[in-house]
Every structure is written in C-alpha cells, then in structure tokens.
Amino acid sequence: MNELLEFISNNLELIYILILAIFIGVELIKNVPSVLHTPLMSGANALSGVVIVGALLVMLQADPNDYLALGLGFIAVVLGIINVVGGFAVTDRMLQMFKKKK
C-alpha cells in the first residue's frame, strides 16, 4: 500500500497527463460522423506509429557491438516507419476521394 502511494506521489504529473489525454481522445472522436470512420481509423493508426521515436532511441543508444540491440532496433524502426508513412499516405489518398468533384 505504501509503495503504491509512493508511486502515485512520485509520478503525479504523469498520472495527470495520462488521465487528461484519455479524456481528450474520447472527446475528439465521440461525435465524428460515420462517413469518416475509416479515414479516422487509419489516421489514428498512423499516429500510433509514434512508437518509432522509441525505436530510434533504441538504435541511438545501442553499443555498435551489440548486434542484438542494433538488429532488433533496426527491425523496430523499419516496422514503425512503415506504419507512419503508409498510414499517413493511405489516409491522404482516401481523403482525396472525399473531396467534392463538381
């Protein structure tokens, strides 16, 4: 119990950010018309590619002789950037179609 309280008091800022971000996410999406659900999902999908920042940190911090860390980091960066580039590009392509062509 004490450990839990200590954890909370040490990470209070983090907890605030976490809770507020959850609410922002919910509020942003709540009233989106169903026309946009697919682009929204693929756009959100691209955002989750932000995990690439972590993959980059792995590679930046890896010892050049630590082949395991470099190798895993390499794959993580490749997968992450596919998610980012592919996600944003396909969302853009989809939204292009929604433009009114008159």
């Binding site: 946009l36 993959a55 996600g87």
Partner: protein, 462 residues
C-alpha cells in the same frame, strides 16, 4: 534531452491533437492528416539529430537505411492498395506498430536496472505489443480469406487462463528483480500465442470491432513505451490513439447491439448449423421470386424514389462504378436516388463510404441509417446489392437469431425490394435472411457487376 527537442516534442503533441480533431470533419480532414504527419516528421527528425548520446556513425548509417527501406515499403503499399483492402491494410499496420513496441521492450529489458517501475513498463510493452502483433496478423488473414475461424474446445476458458497467467507471470518477473533472459522469452512466446488464440475464434462479421480494438491496443503499446522513456510525445500520442480506438470500438458494438465482451467471448458467425435453408425455401416455408434485369429496369424506371443499399458484395465485384452510373441514369430520369449506409457496411467502420467516394459518388447522397429508415415507407424501390445481414429482419423479429437486436435498415417497409446476390448462400455472419422470402422481394441473381451493367443498358433503352 535538449530544450529544443523538448519544444519540438511539445509542438508535435499539439499537432496530433489538432490533427485528430480536424480528421473528424469532412471539410478539414485532409488538412488535419497533413498537420499530424508534419508533427510526426518533426518528432522523428528531432529525435535523430537533437539527442545528447554518443552515437557511432554505424548506428546513423543503419538508422538511415531502416528509415529509407521502411518509408519506401510504406509508401508503395499505401499507393498500391485497393480501397476494398483497407481493413487488411489497417490490420497489418496495427501489427507492425505492435511488433515495434514489442521489440523495443525486448531490447530495453536487457538494459534494465531492476527498477520495478521500469521493469513493469518493459513487460507491459512486450505483452501488449506481441498480442497486437499476432492478433493483427490473424485479423489480416481472416479478412483476406486465407484463415478460417478456429475454435479450440473451451477456448474462452483457455484464453482467460492464459491472460491471467500472463499478468501473474509478468508480476512475478518484476518481483524477481528481472534478470532472467529465459523468463522474458517464455513471456514473449506466451503473449504471441495469446494474440493468436484471442482473435482466432472471433467471427468474420465482428472484424470491424476487432480492428478497432487492436488499433486501440497499438496506441496503448506506444504510450507504454513512452512512459519507459519518459517521452511525452509518445505517451500522449499513444493514449490519444488508445482512447480514440476504444471509443470507435464501442460505437461499432452499439451499431451491432452487442457488448464488447459478447464480441470477444461470444464468437458467433460461420457456425455450420446456422447456415440452414440454402435451398429455395425458408424455415417458414416461403419461396423466393426470381426476376430479370429487364423487369427490374421497368420497376426502377417507373419509380419516383429509389434507395440503393450497397454491401461488401458490391465492392468485391468491383461494381462501385456501375452503381454510380445507374444512380446518374436514374437521377437524369428525374428519380430521387440515395444510398442507405449501415454503420457496419463493409469490413470496417465507414468502409462503404470510402468505396463509394472512390467512384465519385457525392457524399450528400450517402444517408446514414437513422436518417434513411423513416424514408423507406415512401420509397418505391429498394435495390440491395451485395448486402445481407444489415437488411435481415431477423434482427427485429427472431429472438433466437444471433443478430437479434442489431439495428438494421428497414427495407421491408418500402414498396418493392430488388435484391442482387450471386447465390442464395448465407451472409458473412452465416445466417439466413427472411427478407429474400418476402412477397415484396424479387431476387436478381448474378455477379453484381454484370447484373448492374445489364440493368444500366436496359434502362438506357427505355
């Protein structure tokens, strides 16, 4: 971390929030997507150039190579993919994001100092990342048609034991002080297997919900790695996706009148015993009435209000362009034409809208379920193309039906219904449809594209 980099992360975070907000409105969506993308690029470039580690040049070369290869692959996939394959694509990208988080977790486990907080985040990243990874691959395979529903006996019990075991095992590793490489590989293996078992039993008709749930999990995995590095842009970006995905999941469940636990543990769809009455008679003994393209054309020609109900079958037959041609032709004749879009039409939320937009259908013509339902009694002809479960009256009047209670398009209230289907086979959810035996219904059998093309040429000759 340099102050410049912190400021870049802050700006990126703000672009994510603004971008996501703008994605929610048809006029601003495109710009919103670009704003988020710019924020993301800034965060990536900032991370590479503004850190304060000692980095060997070989690392830089490898990073450059990884970014180049990945960008190229991502770009090519995004440009080549067919819009009917969007659900598969989103699943695949989800899996990649999850795998990335999993790999980060694995590397950081090796670097950890035994701090309980740090170890728990590493373990959470590995568990959630791997579940998302294999779960998404299974979802991809199912959407693709290459994997069928597989249910082990007592799969719910097995899955529940497995997930509880995973959590307990993770907690044990944290308390042990985390220095066993073997344990972490066991944890990894069990998580990967759980991802498979978790999605395998879920029926095809529930895939829209599963994709959105996995999308949410990828976000959570990213957020957890953000906590690991104390990196705010990852934390906030991940949580935004996580909560947005969860809300979409609940919207989808609502649209099908199912609870999330029912989707995950209920696993209906594709049961062989549900596919009954594939011959010409229904359970209640009704018969079906076949029609021809010319008869249907006459019916449409003398209508004053026509509603088209497109389903995934339309997209599979690549008939989006023909249906648009039909719509223009009828509009020219002074007939009021609109499209009725069920919230779960297609294979993912909003999928049908994308498919029709691709063939230049004006989105003012796409009417959502709640707005179109009151219009059906005034509708002369409803043309159902490749849709099935979303117009199945069993949802209203058969309490034993697996889709009982799901809101549907009430097409049976209109004056005539023409249903285009290839065969009498049951729909994606694997259940028979009484609508086809309704006396007001005529069945126009055949591939959607050729049937509609014939319909268009008949109409042109009138």
């Amino acid at each position: 971390m340099s102050i410049t980099l912190s400021i870049i992360y802050l700006i990126s975070t703000v672009t994510f929030v603004i971008g996501l907000k703008m994605l929610g409105h048809p006029e601003t969506a495109k710009k919103g997507n670009i704003i988020s993308a710019v924020g993301m690029i800034a965060a990536i470039i900032g991370t590479i150039f503004l850190h304060d580690f000692e980095v060997a040049s070989i690392n830089y070369i490898l990073i450059g190579a990884a970014l180049f290869v990945g960008s190229l692959i991502g770009w090519l996939i995004a440009m080549k993919v067919e819009m009917t394959k969007m659900p598969e694509l989103v699943s695949l990208f989800n899996g990649f994001g999850g795998a990335s988080a999993m790999l980060i977790g694995l590397v950081e486990y090796g670097n950890n100092t035994g701090d309980a907080m740090q170890t728990s985040t590493v373990i959470a990243a590995i568990i959630i990342g791997s579940i998302t990874f294999t779960g998404s691959l299974v979802a991809f395979g199912k959407l693709n048609g290459s994997l069928n529903d597989v249910r082990l006996p007592k799969y719910n019990l097995i899955n529940n034991i497995l997930i509880l075991g995973l959590i307990a095992f993770g907690a044990y590793i944290v308390m042990m002080g985390a220095d066993s490489t073997l344990l972490i590989y066991v944890l990894l293996a069990v998580s990967l297997v759980y991802g498979l078992l978790f999605v395998f039993p879920i029926g095809g008709a529930d895939m829209p919900v599963v994709i959105s749930l996995l999308n949410s999990l990828t976000g959570i995995a990213a957020a957890i790695t953000g906590i690991l590095y104390g990196n705010m842009v990852m934390l906030v970006g991940g949580i935004l996706v996580g909560s947005a995905g969860l809300i979409l999941t609940f919207i989808m469940c609502d649209a099908m009148n199912r609870s999330l636990s029912n989707v995950i543990f209920g696993a209906f769809g594709g049961d062989s015993d549900a596919i009954a009455g594939t011959a010409g008679t229904s359970a209640s003994g009704g018969t079906i009435k076949k029609t021809t393209a010319s008869d249907s054309a006459i019916l449409l020609n003398y209508a004053s209000k026509v509603v088209i109900v497109p389903g995934y079958g339309l997209a599979v037959a690549q008939a989006q362009h023909v249906i648009h041609e039909l719509e223009l032709l009828l509009t020219e004749k002074g007939i009021d034409v609109s499209y009725a879009i069920h919230p779960v039409a297609g294979r993912m939320p909003g999928h049908m809208n994308v498919l029709l937009a691709e063939s230049n259908v004006d989105y003012d013509k796409l009417i959502e379920m709640d707005d179109i339902n009151p219009q059906f009694p005034n509708t002369d002809v409803v043309l159902v193309v490749g849709a099935n479960d979303v117009v199945n009256p069993a949802a209203h009047n058969d309490p034993s039906s697996p889709i009982y209670g799901m809101p549907i398009l009430d097409v049976e209230n209109s004056k005539h219904i023409i249903v285009n289907k290839r065969t009498m086979n049951a729909g994606y959810a694997g259940i028979q449809n009484e609508l086809f035996f309704n006396t007001k219904t005529s069945m126009l059998f055949g591939d959607a594209k050729s049937a509609l093309t014939e319909l268009v040429s008949e109409l042109k000759n009138m």
